[in-house]
Symmetry: C2
Subunit: 331 residues, 2 copies
Amino acid sequence: MTKVTSEQETTTRDRTRAEQALLAGLVEYGLFVPSEVPGIYGRGVVYEAVLAGFNHFLSQQTREDGACCLHFPPIMPRANLERIGYLESFPHLAGLVFSFEGGDVDHLELLSQLQNGESYAGAVKMTDVVLNSATCQPLYPTLRGKRLPDGGSLFDLVAYCFRREPSHDPIRMQSFRMREHVCLGHPADVRRWRERWLVRAREMFQRIGLKVDEVVANDPFFGRGGRMLATEQRASEAKFEFVLPISSTEAPTAIMSFNYHEDHFTGPYDIRTSDGARAHSACLGIGIERIAIALFKTHGFDPETWPASVRAHLGLSGKPRPEGTPGGDAA
Amino acid sequence: MTKVTSEQETTTRDRTRAEQALLAGLVEYGLFVPSEVPGIYGRGVVYEAVLAGFNHFLSQQTREDGACCLHFPPIMPRANLERIGYLESFPHLAGLVFSFEGGDVDHLELLSQLQNGESYAGAVKMTDVVLNSATCQPLYPTLRGKRLPDGGSLFDLVAYCFRREPSHDPIRMQSFRMREHVCLGHPADVRRWRERWLVRAREMFQRIGLKVDEVVANDPFFGRGGRMLATEQRASEAKFEFVLPISSTEAPTAIMSFNYHEDHFTGPYDIRTSDGARAHSACLGIGIERIAIALFKTHGFDPETWPASVRAHLGLSGKPRPEGTPGGDAA
């Protein structure tokens, strides 16, 4: 075992303290409503207005892309998860949905177990649905066997995602909305798209007062084999993140990540380019909840006090805060 | 067994045909994107714009209520589900989240089961989270032990809900957004609130061209004991629904339901009125997805052709349809 130095101990303690302070602020201002389980929060109307404001800002900034917009529900077919190898790489983060399929007698047994404080896990069965692991994963099956148009395809997606990593750090939720831009096409199409984002992402965040850094990153692959995968991913620079400090000043948090999948997702679904080649894909994961939290952390818990230019970009200025109206309306 | 008469057979066949026609239309116009599992659909930008439009209309119509608005994620603590007796009454509809908690060796076993087409249900464990069964259920624990203000409290909530009832009828989804208005207070407060809604609900739907009927209803309680509960619920008129034909002309669909809970939810969480009495609660479940589908079914699959007054109420008129912009933005 690696010896934990006292310096590391201090850092961990400071980090926890910083996380707690951030969460306490979010709760005090009615932005977050805690539950009994870490990483699951209700959100108040002002938080929702800021999230909707950023979504609107992003839509404005990227309108000329002409991406196809889709909204996905928080669950998807279990077959999706299995086909793309999620259980190989991230079994510890997945959420599988189990349901009761029995009759009256089985039901009585379940209730008796529940009453006696015993586990009733054996009374329910694995279903054919799972929680979304990432916003882009429900997309690929809808393109199964398709030929993309010349120049490839662009999608602008949003969905609730699930990650089984209970934490008291408000930026690490078990259930959170993630927006993704997905590009599919020839490797050259994907490269061009990536270069464009590299230029505009930093500028976009600057407009709303967030100073981000760009770093090469890796996914949290599971287990001993995962360490090798992470090293390979870093070496190929297939993933990079835009980071800034949110819940801790020492460890910056990713608020947007670029992921080049090559044919990892297009392969299992036989998605091809206009000339019949196997398409490549890449996604830009836009952590809209982390961005909203970063805005509160950076500019303060009350958006009424934010810089006028930031409020203007987020569409928060000019109109008085509507009492009794959910921020995003569509939620 | 009850003999199925040929008349019933015809009705079932017609209903299935009507359901299929509705789903086919929704898919053809890009409003729904089907998945491999019945009852799970992606939604297109025009559908999202109509859903957001109705949400906005509802917010306008109810602004003077001054309700407290909250957004909840699609999962909640399992303890919530257990405390309110959901597994007693609706075990067949619940969705429990299981996750992998093992090490490298367990992981290899899971992967070998997956590869051999065997069940790996035994490799995952029941967690402390479940899918939301109803939008108001995450609310009650946040009010635990509280005294309500004089006149009670009003909430305006939205969340994704889960019901394990796979169906090819597009109005019966496994995963759908539900908005709820919740009233807590003295029985008299709840009664006044109910009377107010009875007057305005019909008028509200009339404005957007939906002709609803009001019927006494019951919840789909499980099993043999459930039939008695359903009869009792009908006799006490604790639940009534606003219905109109959507996927079938014979069997109307509920798009809004009023549910009087008495102290079913306030009891387990010890929620009291300002004078210390046990509070009562009632909710108005607003089936925003079914209302959106009813609008498409009633006025046609292209909102550009809808009556001007309906478009105006939904905020769809005046502005050209924005290409490449998600309808609700906040999703």
